[in-house]
Symmetry: C2
Subunit: 586 residues, 2 copies
């Protein structure tokens, strides 16, 4: 037996008991005549003591030799601590050790195993197994497990069935790039790893397996933007015989449950925002509504003067920055530089100070009167002491720019409090999205999303205006879930695929099995998927998903700890009937 | 709203209430003046009624047109049924329909959606979404979800943390063949899909994440034997600071819990059998102990006469078949043919009838006396009326042959009752296994399994005799779980890898990260993994895992429903820097 107790559970009530503990040497304080060791395991830290009076000389010497992260087992008596430590649960006691066994030695770790470590990201990733010993990482992983279990139990309790769908499926050119898996037994053929179990969950609905969920890994071979992973986890859900309202109700219930159980936050009803309103008010389909700064559209109060920049703009739009009038001229100039960075792409920024005396001072005073500026304040909701920041240009671009500025300012002003949770639904998404590069429309959600009733006729004439039965669940400025009511009849699915540019043959080759299934009594159905990594990070008050993944990959899709991916044997390639087609380096 | 109730919940207490139901037309009985429809959903069947007296003409005609598997919605009043059906939960009532909406039509399904269907396996797999509508498949999937949830809750309640490990890892030539995934971003390199999360769970132990579990998909690119799947699900577990006894206790607890909660069977303590004894008594390391027929080794009572076949044999071994003396001569001849089939490979079978009058009649009466035969009966435990079946030859072959015969006879005699559960531990497995083809030893469990204390010295002299800290959990003749105490120090791991034929460079390239990890304070650890597919099948009283997988693959690793694997675009190949290297067909 390696231990009678763990390092987090011994209390004053155990005093005089003999215990056996195992764990890692967190810290050693060696005063020569006395040695204290902090012994750590997953559950906590317990202080060990060895001294000249009460320990044998051999034992004391043995203790003095222990290095950081040595794995040891001790037997000893629980005694009261002279100077108690109220900061840890075991702070009332210590263990007077009678026997010490070194279970394994340790090299000096490459970074300190402390909450605030001296190790950089790269080093911590290479030695992730040491990083996981640190409380912040360990607690994040435990937190993730707790959230996951809450999700499973909540959904199971309301009749959802977890069904495993396959990982070795078929590649579809639609959407992001697939990871593929060559098949040895089927020469020249490949499986694909699922980007999501979308078609399978729909087939489960056709199969009558009403109320399905699955917590499942999904894969996308994308060029990794910051904080994306090639493999990620979804809470994937689908229901039959439902309308949008049924789905929102169920998953609002789940999210409310999580906020309550995990964060102790009670939220009654989630606001709902039309997609068009979200874009108009926040320039963004996943608005952070923990703070105001709603957009004010200023065209009608800014395009009547000689200011050409505004007059030529499709949209003139501003936000009121609370107490922004405190910004110095230099700070404002820096803000203007910030929006002009290529990543944001604004050509400039007009601002207007709202002075405490009710007057206004703008960067375009030569064009606009105090009355004009007062109207800007009214439209943007600016109060005395605020600063109005105004951008102008092509609508979709300027909205994105102002949204970025709004988030940046909120961050700087400390308005994005991770302990505050502001969920909302964004509904009535467009069905199609214009790809500016190709001029083609593609599915905004995916090709299985149904258009709003009566709108399918618009597909030919005004494809960009067709709204979908699609919805996103947004939390603190992040999309944590999204879904739709699906198409469930072959004819509509065929029309949809045609509009997405699939020939009949392509549609048949890719989605024939689904179209066939729709002919055998497919029920109305719809669903939603949560991004678990992000959901967990946000509930945990953080935004970096990597911190909530045990063994994440870096931005090149590499696992630097195991050094994957890696070359494989020629024999392996041969068995798969493959050859490398590497570019010649001359 | 598509429904106010589901099709399984309406009872007599609902009579006179108005309800809305949605579901599939299971069956229609049209008598002209009256139509009954069985409406089915996931939850059950409710009878609908339409008739001349109480329904409008239009409604009656509409009902008469409904085909099998049409998806409909009805509104109506719950009424008492004239002739009640005690076989279904809703059998006291029916719905007098006032409104009928066809939500989707259906082609005639290619097989009947009944518990006993007319569809063959291939057809059912192609239309798996229809197969899932059938109760046996649907109930198996629901059963699987229930078992899985029980596992998760049990382990979570005793402090296990579910941690997700990566799917895109590194290929290792050890063990079965890996599925590989070409990396687009890392030219010429490949990920591998995990055969198990073995190294990651060990790294989690090094990381202090004591008590890990995960229900996780694993992948093996093997030539598929009957009832194997290229992707399968494991309940993967690992603990730190444990000895074998700790692990057996925890997972015996889990299994006992499942048997009780899922099957209502209480089993106090699981027997333990040494590997050597399992082989001696059952010729098999996963014995079915629901019935007797233990092996009796007969060398000492059969090699003293002139019967050369026995005298030349390394092992002479028999079993007593209960009441086997009832077999006719013809039946026994067929049994002899059965053991001589190439799949079994015995050269012949000696038998001995145990007559009711206490005499014996054997096929080798010219060599053996009644006294000899009485000893055989004693050794095999044969009673009057039994039949002793005896095989002889090289020990490991003859054991396998007699084991196959034992199982076949038990099957024929109805001794393998799927409602009876007989779990046991098989312990003290050999560390290494001789590969007869190559003459090399390889790890019986895997290269991370620790030898029994003090036995590592035997690795050089008697590698085949070294026993490991390895154990299997066996249920009804199937290995449902297996595991080991792992090596946790670099030196031992290096010795082990050397004995498995890895050069130092190979060991470094493949397992360097693990060996490094062992140098930073790796704790003693061990674990176990259950094969979830088989566990669920056996608890469900069946043995075919395919019946418990929503979308299984066939023996060629194909999903015949979605038709995967499939060729991929040349562009996709090019992006992956790959070329097909297909064999020329001349």
């Amino acid at each position: 037996m390696y231990r009678s107790h763990n390092c987090g559970e011994i209390r004053a009530s155990h005093i005089n008991k003999t215990v056996i503990l195992s764990g890692w040497v967190q810290k050693s304080r060696n005063k020569g005549f006395i040695v204290w060791i902090d012994l750590r395991d997953r559950y906590g830290i317990t202080q060990l003591v060895f001294d000249e009076d009460r320990s044998s000389k051999a034992l004391l010497e043995q203790a003095q030799k222990l290095g950081r992260e040595y794995v040891i087992q001790v037997k000893g008596t629980v005694i009261e601590r002279a100077s108690k430590n109220p900061n840890i649960a075991t702070g009332d006691i210590e263990i007077l050790v009678s026997k010490l066994t070194v279970l394994n030695e340790s090299l000096l770790p490459p970074f300190t195993i402390e909450d605030q470590t001296d190790g950089g990201e790269d080093l911590r990733m290479k030695y992730r197994y040491l990083d996981i010993r640190r409380n912040p990482v360990k607690n994040n992983l435990i937190f993730r497990a707790k959230v996951t279990q809450e999700v499973r139990n909540y959904l199971s309790n309301i009749g959802f069935i977890e069904v495993e769908t396959p990982y070795l499926i078929k590649s579809t050119p639609e959407g992001a790039r697939d990871f593929v898996v060559p098949s040895r037994m089927n020469e020249g053929e490949f499986y694909a790893l699922p980007q999501s179990p979308q078609t399978f969950k729909q087939l489960l609905m056709v199969g009558g397996m009403d109320k399905y969920f699955q917590i499942v890994k999904c894969f996308r071979d994308e060029d990794l933007r910051a904080d994306r992973q090639p493999e990620f986890t979804q809470i994937d859900c689908e229901m039959a015989f439902v309308e949008q309202e049924d789905i929102l109700t169920v998953f609002e219930g789940l999210t409310r449950h999580l906020l309550k159980e995990v964060n102790g936050v009670e939220i009654n009803q989630f606001p709902r925002l039309l997609y068009d309103d979200a874009m108009r008010l926040y320039g963004n389909d996943k608005p952070d509504i923990r703070f105001g700064m709603e957009f004010g559209e200023l065209n009608h109060v800014s395009q009547h003067k000689e200011f050409k920049v505004f007059n030529d703009a499709e949209l003139v739009v501003g936000i009121a920055v609370p107490n922004g009038n405190d910004f110095t001229r230099k700070q404002i100039d820096k803000l203007i530089d910030w929006v002009k960075r290529p990543q944001i792409g604004a050509l400039g920024m007009v601002y207007c100070r709202c002075n405490e005396d009710g007057t206004y001072k703008s960067s375009v005073d030569k064009f606009y009167s105090q009355e004009d500026l007062a109207k800007w304040a009214e439209v943007t909701g600016a109060k005395k002491g605020d600063l109005i920041c105004i951008l102008s240009g092509v609508t979709h671009k300027v909205r994105a720019q102002l949204s970025a500025l709004r988030m940046e300012l909120a961050e700087r002003l400390g308005l994005r409090n991770p302990k505050v949770f502001a969920p909302l639904w964004v509904i009535d998404f467009p069905l199609l999205e214009l790809d500016e590069d190709t001029g083609n429309y593609h599915a905004m959600h995916h090709p299985f999303t149904s258009p709003k009733p009566g709108q399918i006729e618009l597909l030919d004439s005004k494809p960009g205006e067709v709204k979908a039965n699609a919805y996103d669940l947004v939390l603190n400025g992040n999309e944590i879930g999204g879904g739709s009511i699906r198409i469930h009849d072959k004819a509509t699915q065929a029309i949809m695929l045609k509009h997405l540019g699939f020939s009949e043959e392509e549609a048949r080759a890719q989605f024939g099995f689904l179209m066939d299934a729709f002919e055998y009594g497919a029920p109305p159905h719809g669903g939603l998927a949560f991004g678990l990594d992000r959901l967990v990070a946000i509930l945990g008050g953080q935004e970096t998903i990597r911190d909530f993944i045990a063994f994440p990959k870096n931005n090149s899709g590499r696992d630097v700890m195991i050094d994957a991916p890696a070359p494989i044997d020629n024999d392996q390639l041969k068995e798969l009937n493959l050859k490398l087609d590497t570019k010649e380096v001359i």
